[in-house]
Assembly symmetry: C2
Homo-oligomer: 464 residues x 2
């Protein structure tokens, strides 16, 4: 009888694996046209699976025209060599699991295994006792979470906002979509070049027009911004991605003045990495110094908590808030109440701050370790680190004969994943780019020196 090693099914459902196995046997000729398949019951017993599993597999085979059911007789293999009149003959390509590199300097993942799971799961259990669970979530998010965020912002970011200004959403990208819609069709957007490109991608998706504006050593070039005729600009003044540039006060003033010169103008401030600053004082957001109600503040908990938690929020200035309330309140909140409640408690009981401090210490050490490994390696002789004591990455400008494309190919071959500044730019061609973005968050501590050694050996200069 048909025998398949079910342990090889991986993550596929049993019936899908069984269906695929039989289908492959029909394709290969191991099962010939006209042959009768075992009865569902006997195959189920033979493979030690449920009858429903076999029934599902057979139904799918029948559905796709591989077999035919004859009443009271069973299932027979059809001839698939001729012109098939199959109905659904599409074969879905299995998703490759994300490739695991020896060292992944690119992935946006957290390296910390010390997430306080017991505290989090306590609040989750508390959440399950809430009567609010049986109601729909208010469209801006649970007030208890927005209140906790407002208090956190007041104490940590010098921002005095009302919880009523805060809108919670499932990830920053989701909030970008809402914002694009809020600003409306007639609006032109500007993004930093190089910069975090998701905003531009999502603008493309929703048909919005955007321009890339270059940055200089002080961050976004405001003269160019003026020249671009954009109405709304997306920036990260506290920690520009990927350069780490902190926008100085003078440039901030210039930018706010730009916004104040026309009613339609606004600034979207993405404060995504603000928690991770290892020296000097905290950089306040633009929002804190905005006297014209021109800044939309946006931040996420995916970076500061764990990547798989999808909670972000934005703070809208009054005029935009009114517009949001009037035109977009029918959009249901995209974050489940459980998680909003748990996060609210986590923040207001001080666990969030403690967790951030933990993470910060962890990343601070990892950063030193990475920088020391580079300084001690041959890389030091022909490269330069560019960084500002913040975030979880830095730039490494390499003085090499290789093109960016070659660097990337060699990295792949050596089981290392890297990205280049050109990946985040609309103007720098990859071949001319020799500046790597080194995100150390996801590389395990015990692999770091070996990872840096491998990195160094990508370059022919290393042998000299």
């Amino acid at each position: 009888m048909l025998t398949y090693d079910l342990s090889r099914r991986g993550t596929r459902p049993l019936y899908v694996f069984l269906y695929e196995s039989i289908r492959d046997d029909i394709h290969s000729g191991r099962l010939s046209p006209g042959e009768k398949l075992p009865s569902k019951r006997s195959l189920a017993d033979h493979l030690n699976v449920g009858v429903i599993t076999v029934a599902n597999a057979y139904a799918q085979l029948e559905n796709e025209g591989y077999v035919e059911a004859e009443e009271k007789r069973g299932f027979f293999v059809l001839d698939i060599t001729g012109s098939r009149t199959t109905k659904r003959n599409h074969v879905f390509v299995a998703e490759e699991p994300e490739k695991e590199y020896f060292a992944d300097f690119k992935a946006n993942r957290s390296g910390l295994c010390h997430f306080p799971t017991s505290t989090w799961s306590r609040y989750m259990r508390e959440a399950l006792a809430m009567p609010e669970l049986l109601k729909t979530v208010p469209y801006k998010g649970l007030l208890i979470l927005r209140t906790a965020i407002a208090e956190y912002l007041a104490e940590n970011r010098g921002m005095f906002v009302s919880p009523y200004q805060i809108i919670v959403g499932a990830g920053t990208e989701y909030l970008y979509s809402r914002l694009l819609q809020l600003f409306g069709r007639g609006c032109t957007f500007a993004v930093e070049d190089p910069g975090y490109q998701k905003f531009a991608k999502i603008s493309d998706g929703s048909g919005a027009i955007w321009k890339a504006v270059s940055i200089d050593e002080m961050g976004l070039n405001v003269e160019q911004l003026e020249f671009s005729e954009a109405d709304v600009v997306h920036v990260s003044p506290a920690n520009h991605f990927p350069t780490g540039i902190i926008m100085p006060v003078s440039r901030r003033h210039e930018l706010l003045e730009w916004a104040n010169r026309a009613r339609k103008r606004y600034i979207i401030e993405d404060d995504y990495d603000c928690e991770f600053r290892y020296s000097g004082k905290n950089i306040l957001p633009l929002y804190a110094g905005d006297t014209g109600n021109k800044v939309v503040y946006i931040n996420t908990f995916s970076k500061s908590m764990i990547p798989s938690l999808r909670i972000s929020y934005m703070v809208l200035p009054p005029e935009l808030l009114d517009r949001y309330e009037q035109t977009m309140s029918f959009y249901s909140c995209t974050v489940s109440s459980f998680e909003q409640y748990a996060l609210a408690r986590f923040i207001s009981e001080g666990h969030f701050e403690r967790h951030i401090n933990h993470l910060k210490n962890y990343y601070r050490k990892k950063r030193s370790q990475t920088l020391e490994a580079i300084a001690a390696s041959p890389l030091a002789g022909f490269s330069r680190v560019i960084e500002r004591h913040a975030g979880t990455h830095f730039l490494l400008e390499v003085n090499t004969v290789l093109t960016g494309t070659e660097i990337r190919r060699r990295a792949q071959e050596n089981d290392i994943s890297i990205s280049l500044v050109s990946d985040y730019s609309y103007t720098i061609p990859e071949k001319d780019c020799r500046t790597l973005v080194i995100n150390y968050a996801g590389v395990p501590v015990y692999r770091m020196s070996e990872a840096v050694a491998r990195l160094a050996h990508l370059f022919p200069e290393c042998a000299e």
Copy 2:
């Protein structure tokens, strides 16, 4: 010294309440221009709050131009009667908590308090031990959840789909947005009239063109659909909202044929209520009978689990799946891993099916109770129930002299919330509508007979 009853702050943060109280005292004149506010420390001690709370309140007052800080002297009240040069003088309106009615026949909430919280929280705890938590979520959602959904659909909805076709998102509305973008600008959409209006609203939001197509006793009128020149239609064949009409086989064929006549044509099948059918056999989805790969299937767990859980999914046919993978894979998944993992386990361990059976029994009883209460009330004499043994609502056509607008007003006055069929229609004027949509899910069992009695007494016919 300034004394405020902090217990009156409701859900506001302490500092916001304190800020508002002082601001009001400045407006009312209780605090006069030039007056010195108590020091932060002494007010904090007096009110028994943290110094940071007072500091935040003062900072906000200063920020908004109500007080002025003089170095080493303290905070002084400014004269706000003249022309104010305040910076942020916007006062945010507190959100009213959702009004609680004696009987809410409109709210979309679950009446069941028996959600298996201990099972759910066990899976949540399990989820917290997953290494995947430190990675970003795959853009289509966790494979373990998509596999569980595929198996559930095979066993319960006669649908044989690959987990690779399934895309998980935070709510049906979110998936609508993705679909609108997937179909693209040139596409015209059709929606049912009357019908679930969110799809059209979200189309408006994203600038898509849509047409309303009327329904007859067999559901969507396909002739009109053809005439509308729409490319994609949104329907709920298993349980049309709000009429409960089940689309019969002949009409399904017609609809599928319509889709098969042009390459651009697709059907979005919203199977939102499929779990709740109290008699007759399960109605299979259109998807199960679709041989042309023309149906996008979409469903949610908010209705079948609890309203505050934001997890929906869609099944894309091959051609659309390819397009999605090629153009939209950069959109991160909007549902946190915790919840996806917990739900996957909940489904594959059979708890979901048990929970659905629980809910179904509960709603079945509640439905009988509601119908019996109506039959026993004076309403019976001048109204007619229209329903199909499914979902959690039915229609009540009332033979009354009142207009729809009057019915609604009287309901409000009697602390009852109702909706009218005209609320879900683009063509029926409210004043001509005398058909109520009675959603009994959210009305507590012990209030039902009183609720129906109040409903009856809205109508002058009741006294006759």
